[in-house]
Amino acid sequence: MSNLNIDSIKKQTFDAIVIGSGISGGWAAKEFTEKGLKTLVLERGRDVRHLIDYPTTNKYPYEFEHRGELTLAIKKENPVASKCYAFREDAMHFFVKDKEHPYVQEKPFDWIRGYQVGGKSLLWARQTQRWSDFDFEGPARDDFAVDWPIRYADIAPWYSYAEKFAGISGNKDGLAELPDGDFLPAYPLNAVEDHFRNSLNKNYGNRHVISARCAHLSEPKQIHFDQGRGKCQNRKLCQRGCPFGGYFSSNSSTLPWAQKTGNLTLRPFSIVESIIYDEKLGRASGVRVIDTNTKEVTEYFAEVIFVNAAAINTNLVLLNSISSRFPSGLGNDSGLLGKYFAFHNYSARINAEFDGLLQYTTDGKNPSDGGYIPRFRNVQKQETDFKRGYAAGFSAYRSTDNDTTGIGADLKSALIRKDLGPWRVGSHMMGETIPKESNYLKLDTTQKDAWGMPLLRINVDYDDNDAKMKKDYINQMTEMFTVAGFKNIQVNDASQSPGLDIHEMGGVRMGHDPKTSLLNKWNQLHACKNVFVTDGACMTSTSTQNPSLTYMALTARAVDYAVKQLKRGDLLV
């Protein structure tokens, strides 16, 4: 500090600092800047400007050197990233390359990352469901983790708030386990998805197939046009960045919105080394930033700091923020920072064929990916030999049979004829996992990355509950498929490593008690009141829903609280 003159401190001082520009950081930026706070958003990767920096967005398959496929060299250099379904020739520039950003896998963990402005919001699968009280009450009812300090009523208005701005398509399905939201029109199920829905309705009381709720503008409203976004054009090339702003991303939505207020300073190429804790004031005073290009270290100051670096890196930043008050990481009085880390169990899928409804096929593309089956196990009460349950995706498409056995003119005409075959149906499980102390993140004590940051050690694994739940998913789905008349049922017990679900959660969990949690009900560090965490790291439990919508709602709610507290001066004591 002594080497800085007053002017440069002023220049480096903001009202709020947001670490990370992904789905939750973008929301924090929007909320702070709209409320008039001068806000610095720090992003460790490069800038990606909406429309401008989507180099592949309008390419045809034949314009890619390898027609979309990965080369052997890229696969070998990226054994982790190349496992992700979206890491292909058209979008691999939005993924972290394994070699550049190493980490230590104490147990196999596929850490999929997007280091750029917008983060993984450019790449996400865009599925958005609300949590219900069956989810928030889960840990207390079923005796795991700690009780959530919030309930559905606390977050419901913020879900509405986030949904209206982001644009979420869906039906009001009237299901207690999956509360309805403020929706744009849903993408309807197709003939066979409807058939499966009807079959479940007829044969099972509490099992439903609904139109998947997703962050696509099926019918944009004025608020979306005001963001410069337009109707989703069913391209399903979302991972390239959308020229229509048809799906929600920080790049297309929250960041340009924040920019328009004149209150946003976005600084790409900025790794947050640590949050600076001021021992005298008893709060955080700012952040220490490493410029990724020059490796120069700069300090930035603000009255409130939001950590939205994505779950694992948020843990890293806090663990690396050491002071005499917090020798084992900022806010870590409980010693639980980095622990009770969890994810979603995506390790099974089922495929089958259906030879009914052959009078129909589909035309165009469904951006919602089809159907969603909300959790039906252990909802009202415990009824199986495992805790909690799973949601599932369900979709159907009409196959085309191309006979490639021939040669010459016969082969040519067979290839373009596209004879329709049976319908193919598929489902994948999305299981809740139980956060445990033995699933943790910690800093490596010797190894550092190219910028001098300690490498993360990840120790996360499935457990017996996950195995039982997977077995149940396979059994139940096989039965439901059979009842619906699906044939040739194939179970793919994929056994993928944790991480590939890209739903990493926890490590900085919310809770009532500072002895057993890091954050209070406002996502505020119990022990350092002007630091908030509203990305996946804050999650006390995982439930089954895709988590991003909950991060958006929690973020907007926490910013609202933080700004009110700031105005009262309460954050600064």
Binding site: E65, H66, R67, E193, I407, L415
Partner: protein, 165 residues
């Protein structure tokens, strides 16, 4: 065959290439830049003939028109293990010194898995056929004219009626 090769070299020279004496011992190289495999102009020409047998020119363009053999080479170069590349060249070796009719006969025999086709020709042939087909289906011509690939569909109908003949 040697005469044909000589003629070809003359043509290359006439096309502007300077053939140094030492180069006369070597055949010309592939027309595209390849990094992990070594392909001669002759091999490239054979591959073009084979691809044309698989996807011939009819009233629509064929493999040669669409340069499908160059796509196969590009994929072989970048996307396959060395073992698979080696097997590819072993199989390709069976086409050496064959004329156009002989090439066609061997491809047709391989495609119908005739008994007298050597077993180690298949790793080559299967890759060649599969990649020729994928190159064809992903070609601008097919995607623009025969099986239309839409960049901006702008619609979804989950109950689209199937046309009945």
């Amino acid at each position: 065959m040697e005469r044909r090769l000589a003629i070809k070299q003359i043509l290359i020279a006439a096309g502007g290439l300077v053939l140094l004496p030492s180069c006369l011992k070597h055949e010309g190289k592939s027309s595209i830049l390849l990094s992990r495999i070594d392909v001669s102009a002759t091999q490239e020409k054979i591959l073009a003939e084979i691809a044309e047998v698989i996807i011939p020119k009819t009233d629509t363009p064929g493999a040669k028109d669409l340069n499908l053999h160059l796509y196969v080479l590009k994929m072989l170069d970048d996307c396959y293990e060395k073992e698979e590349q080696d097997k590819f060249f072993i199989g390709l070796g069976y086409f050496k010194d064959l004329d156009q009719q002989e090439i066609k006969a061997l491809v047709i025999a391989a495609n119908s898995e005739k008994d007298d086709v050597p077993k180690d020709l298949y790793p080559f042939y299967n890759l060649m056929k599969q990649r020729t087909i994928s190159g064809y289906m992903n070609s601008k011509y097919v995607m623009s004219n025969l099986v239309i690939w839409e960049l901006v569909p702008g619609r979804y109908n989950g109950y689209f009626p199937v046309k009945t003949a």
